[in-house]
């Protein structure tokens, strides 16, 4: 009786494993429909975006620890922020609508950045805190 129970249990596990390990054609179809991420990071382009937005006019390039007397985040402060917080901080809440189509900066440059450009800007900011030098051959 006990050996029958063990045999049935083992068969059940085996059957379960067979089904679990089978490729699911439906999932494959979904995967094949996913687009390839073509967003490539190029430091120069990201620098141009940051330069055109004028980020460093307000977020001053001070050494870590030095504070802006207005209480504004320095560029070093931005570098230490978590990427998700940075996206939230930079592109939505903290700019008081200045960059919106009706804002004082008029040209809605920040609103019109693509997802790839936003990713590049975030990486550019984060890279300022990493050991990634600029070389000349």
């Amino acid at each position: 009786m006990a050996s029958n129970t063990i045999r049935i249990s083992l068969n059940s596990i085996l059957l379960l494993l067979v089904f679990a390990c089978q490729n699911n054609s439906r999932n494959n179809k979904i995967l094949s429909n996913q687009s390839i991420d073509t967003c490539q990071y190029y430091r120069y382009d990201a620098h141009q975006i940051v330069s055109n937005l004028g980020c460093q006019n307000c977020h001053l390039l001070l050494i870590p620890g030095d504070k802006d007397d207005r209480g504004w985040a320095t560029f070093s402060d931005l570098v230490t922020m978590d990427s998700l917080k940075l996206i939230d901080f930079v592109f939505t809440k903290k700019h008081k609508g200045w960059y919106s189509k009706t804002g004082t900066f008029k040209t809605p440059r920040m609103d019109t950045l693509s997802e790839c450009q936003i990713k590049s800007v975030i990486r550019y900011i984060k890279d300022q805190g990493r050991d990634i030098p600029m070389s000349n051959q």
Partner: protein, 264 residues
């Protein structure tokens, strides 16, 4: 904050301002149609530290050449449109911390460039710019085309010390100026359609141009905080130059070879 206080204290005591960037006679005009013209006399000083093992016999001529290149590239000021900054109140001659505006800015700055050699680390102040000359640099990088490249010069990022390998500097006299412009916040260019640019950094570069946009970026960097314009004079903020030079040169991933006895 400390550097700002130090600078203000120095002004109060009428002590001469020192540092990589010293600006005097600063003034602004506002044409009332969204264009600010900025005027001032800037002195840029780059200190060169020879850390080579066998010495650098041609260092003086390389420094003179670098001084001439930097001077010529900065000549003529710069222009930048669509600059988002604090709103300027021309009547009160102040920038309003609570209002923002988009301006076109004309940088009418006069530049005096000094490239001088120093022999001791004690000659380096926190807000100096420095170019360290080393024996060699082991660091390799991958360009945007996926090719591995050697490094003849290396700079961590804006405001950081720059380095060049002496033998490579002898081969390419523009190398010192290229690296210094990284300190002044210009990035490298790898786009093969821009081989005529000084900041193009792959081996097959054919030109030495700085674009108007790049000049505008340099001027913007030199000014740092636009509010400095209303103070008449200023020197650049603390960059922790000696500390940064120390951790940069001692970072093993860059593979710097230099005479450590000269760096104590």
């Amino acid at each position: 904050m400390i550097s700002t206080l130090r600078m203000r204290f120095a002004i109060l005591q009428s002590q001469p301002l020192t540092g990589g960037i010293v600006a005097r006679n600063l003034r602004i005009t506002d044409n009332g149609s969204g264009e600010l013209s900025l005027y001032g006399d800037f002195t840029i000083t780059l200190k060169v530290l020879d850390l080579t093992t066998s010495g650098a016999p041609n260092l003086n001529s390389l420094m003179t050449f670098t001084q001439q290149v930097i001077s010529s590239k900065l000549r003529g000021g710069g222009y930048k449109s669509g600059v988002s900054i604090l709103k300027y109140n021309a009547a009160k001659r102040v920038f309003d911390n609570h209002k923002t505006w988009t301006y076109s800015i004309r940088y009418n700055f006069n530049f005096t460039v000094n490239v001088i050699q120093i022999n001791m680390l004690g000659q380096l102040n926190g807000n100096d710019f420095v170019l360290a000359v080393v024996d060699s640099i082991g660091h390799q990088f991958t360009d945007k085309y996926g090719r591995r490249q050697d490094s003849a010069g290396l700079t961590q990022r804006a405001s950081w010390p720059a380095t060049v390998s002496y033998n490579n500097w002898l081969k390419d006299k523009y190398l010192g100026a290229h690296e210094f412009f990284h300190t002044l916040n210009l990035p490298d260019i790898e786009d093969t359609t821009k081989k005529n640019k000084l900041m193009y950094h792959l081996g097959d570069n054919i030109g030495r141009e700085i674009s108007e946009t790049e000049k505008g970026d340099i001027m913007q960097y030199m000014l740092g905080d636009i509010r400095e314009m209303t103070k008449g004079s200023y020197s650049n903020a603390n960059n922790n130059t000696l500390y940064r030079l120390r951790i940069f040169l001692n970072n093993p991933i860059y593979g710097f070879k230099y005479n450590k006895n000269k760096f104590k």
